[in-house]
């Protein structure tokens, strides 16, 4: 690590952070302005703060349920996807499977589909195929957790594969020679070294699931509805309720931030293994 000119780095970071933060700051501004103020000459600074939007949103039990659903679905999906992708990438990286590069490429094609058209077959699958008695996959959290695999698994496999490929094969071969089982190799050799990659995968799959809109809007209705879908309720033909929407968006940043700061430490943990020098 070069320790030179840290103040320059800090200055650069501060400037970049301001640019990054501005739209989020503006989101906050929108959330604390009465609607009547939104369409007048703007000013960068806030003069008065109006908390009514937050009061309204925090007292709404439906939104709390949406939030809970979102947390369950995104966390469930991120954990499932990261685990499956970790297994898959290990298999693709360490085994000599017939046609594995084609399988690898095929996984990503599942993310290419423009969603709008695929809603119809998904809808039919969820309401007419995966049905047991009165129970349908439609409007269930487990349904959404499974469905989000279609775009998250390809992503996870593609971001994890380079990480696992980069772990020297000699390490697990040595462990195998010492009599370790596949499971032990994965847990004790690969997992610690893949931690930065796994952390990033977990974070980003969580983000994709958290932000997904079109599928959730079509395939959930009362029970499994997510907060992102809830946001669209404020876009109506009589007008968009910018303030309410912005205040919900600001509130949803909180759980996301918690997940982020916890998992992000794992990326840094990887620094103990190796680091780039310039």
């Amino acid at each position: 690590m070069r320790a030179d000119r840290p103040y320059l780095t800090v200055l650069l970071w501060t400037l970049l952070s301001l640019l990054t933060l501005f739209p989020i700051y503006w989101l906050f501004v929108i959330s604390v302005k009465p609607a009547v103020e939104l369409f007048t000459t703007p000013s960068v600074l806030l003069d008065t703060v109006y908390w009514n939007n937050y009061v309204k949103v925090l007292n709404d039990s439906t939104l709390r349920r949406y939030m809970y659903n979102s947390i369950v679905i995104s966390s469930g999906n991120a954990l499932l996807v990261t685990t499956l992708a970790f297994m898959a990438c290990y298999a693709l990286s360490r085994f000599d499977l017939a046609g594995k590069e084609n399988i690898f490429f095929w996984t990503i094609t599942n993310r290419m589909a423009p969603a709008a058209v695929f809603l119809l077959p998904f809808f039919l699958l969820f309401t007419q195929v995966f049905v047991i008695g009165d129970w349908k996959l439609y409007d269930t959290k487990i349904g959404m957790i499974l469905l989000y695999c279609t775009f998250n698994l390809p992503f996870a496999i593609w971001t994890l594969r380079p990480t696992i490929d980069a772990i020297p094969k000699e390490l697990d071969e040595a462990a195998t020679v010492d009599g370790a089982s596949t499971w032990q190799v994965i847990r004790e050799v690969i997992f610690p070294l893949a931690r930065p990659g796994l952390a990033v995968t977990l974070i980003l799959t969580w983000v994709f699931a958290w932000n997904e809109f079109l599928l959730a809007a079509t395939l959930t209705s009362f029970n499994a509805r997510t907060i992102t879908t809830g946001l669209s309720e404020y876009v109506t033909t009589t007008g968009t309720e910018w303030g309410t929407m912005a205040s919900i968006a600001i509130i949803t940043l909180v759980p996301a931030l918690i997940v982020f700061s916890v998992v992000q430490r794992q990326i840094v943990a990887g620094l103990t293994f190796g680091a780039v020098k310039e």
Binding site: F39, K56, V235, G239, E241
Partner: protein, 477 residues
């Protein structure tokens, strides 16, 4: 908007329950007894009238009958997509769907909806004593088939009006300046020329006086159908071009050559008139849907404009969202000579009568219980508070409700206009291909707005595109 806080909802609900007559309560609990354990599912848009159903009427109904009701509110596009998928795939998820006036013909053509009149006749035990189809305003006619049977319970109805700022129009200095410049007295316009003159005057006045004010609104978004709607529903009819210029009796002709009027001289004049207004309207007009037009007017940036009734109400009365409370006047839109006579004779119309109803999909698995709920929200007794919470009127008796009369005053006489002059306005034409033809022609319309295509040439192309799409869909032979 008239979105209530939690306490108001509770108060309204309590008031509602207290005023329900005991005899009615008997009917509802008796009728509901058979359907204990049933949960009804509805889907609608999250507008104030729908939210009132969700927050007030559904819980009240549940208390009266024991039937649980869950109303899902979502955005406009989502609502249609979900309802259509459900009815198309016959999954029976929904027992109630919101039907906007412009989609009813598509649903009727597909036999998606239950005939409410017939069902109640077939099973009189379901008929609520306080429900009577004849109590609805004429707006209910839009939800009837050729035999006069009802397929939807009207739950909201509005007209798109001409709004003007009474404070500006009555300002002596402004009146004098206007008189000096034009030689006329400043008053809400009756003709298109007058309207343009007033608009030009105020835009110039705003510029000269360093004020953020323009002469007219324009719902002229360059990528959203709102602009298309403003032209075909609110501007073209005032020039005598009705039903989007498509003539159903002539094999759905749109072009003049085939017998339509989408690219007629009248339509071209109308478009140029409106484009000129757009140019002297506030700069945000090019990115304005109905949302922004409402907010532009509410922020006091326009002296006059065309605004949907549901927005007109909060602009006139809600100080939390509007800076022009108490300064809003309502008038009929300006028209070309002869158009008003045609409208009065029932041969034309001068603007858009907008609204929606709740219908019962044939795929529902709880039709009887759903019929009870639909009747519940159609009763006269629930309308007064509903109209106050979300300004909409669907039953004739509601106009005489003291609370509504009181509110009419704050709204500058909007309800009176709806009652007396509502007949001059009309809903969307009876086309089962409403959204399809709109989407086929809108991209050309957006290009007219950006100036890529001239208005005359653009309308010619739109007429051709409409006919091609109608042929493709199989309506035009």
């Amino acid at each position: 908007m008239f979105r209530r806080s939690g306490t108001i909802v509770a108060a309204l609900a309590a008031g509602l329950l207290a005023t329900a007559a005991p005899a009615m309560a008997d009917f509802w609990s008796d009728a509901g007894a058979k359907y204990q354990g049933v949960t009804l599912h509805g889907v609608t848009e999250s507008t104030p009238p729908s939210n009132y159903i969700k927050d007030v009427l559904a819980p009240a109904f549940e208390k009266a009958t024991g039937i649980k009701v869950e109303i899902e509110t979502t955005s406009w596009d989502q609502m249609y997509d979900k309802a259509i998928k459900d009815m198309e795939a016959k999954t029976g998820i929904y027992d109630m769907v919101y039907i906007e006036q412009d989609i009813i013909y598509a649903y009727l053509a597909r036999d998606f909806l239950v005939d409410i009149t017939k069902s109640l006749k077939d099973d009189p035990s379901l008929k609520a004593p306080d429900f009577d189809e004849s109590r609805f305003t004429t707006f209910a006619n839009y939800f009837k088939n050729a035999d006069g049977d009802l397929f939807g319970i009207p739950m909201e109805a509005f007209i798109k009006l001409y709004l003007y700022r009474t404070d500006l129009f009555n300002d002596p200095a402004i009146k004098e300046a206007f008189k000096k410049e034009t030689g006329k007295d400043l008053a809400p316009a009756k003709t298109h020329e007058d309207y343009t003159q007033i608009a030009e005057f105020f835009t110039k006045w705003g510029k000269d006086n360093g004020k953020e004010i323009w002469g007219s609104t324009a719902q002229a978004h360059t990528g959203h159908p709102a602009s298309w709607y403003e032209f075909f529903e609110s501007v073209a009819p005032t020039f005598g071009v009705y039903n989007w210029g498509i003539d159903a009796s002539k094999n759905y002709a749109a072009s003049v050559a085939e017998g339509g009027s989408m690219n007629s001289d009248k339509a071209k004049t109308a478009l140029k008139w409106w484009l000129h207004l757009r140019d002297i309207a506030p700069p945000e007009s090019a990115a304005s849907t109905w949302t922004e037009v409402g907010t532009t007017f509410a922020a006091g940036r326009a002296a006059q404009g065309f605004v949907y009734g549901e927005n007109a109400a909060w602009i006139a009365s809600d100080a939390e969202k509007s800076k022009v409370v108490g300064n809003v006047g309502v008038a009929l839109p300006p028209v070309e000579p002869g158009v008003m006579e045609e409208a009065e004779a029932g041969k034309g119309y001068i603007g858009y009568y907008d609204g929606g109803a709740f219908g019962l999909p044939v795929t529902s698995k709880n039709k009887e219980a759903a019929l009870l709920f639909l009747q519940y929200i159609g009763q006269d007794s629930v309308q007064g508070d509903w109209a106050v919470a979300a300004p909409r009127i669907t039953n004739t008796a509601t106009y005489d409700d003291p609370k509504v009369i009181e509110m009419d005053k704050t709204l500058g006489g909007y309800y009176t206009m709806l009652k007396d002059q509502g007949k001059l306005f009309a809903g969307a034409p009876p086309y089962p291909f409403h959204a399809q033809v709109r989407e086929a022609t809108a991209p050309i319309f957006y290009r007219i707005l950006t100036g890529e295509v001239g208005p005359d040439e653009g309308l010619d192309q739109m007429a051709a595109a409409a006919e091609a799409e109608l042929k493709n869909l199989g309506y035009r032979k």
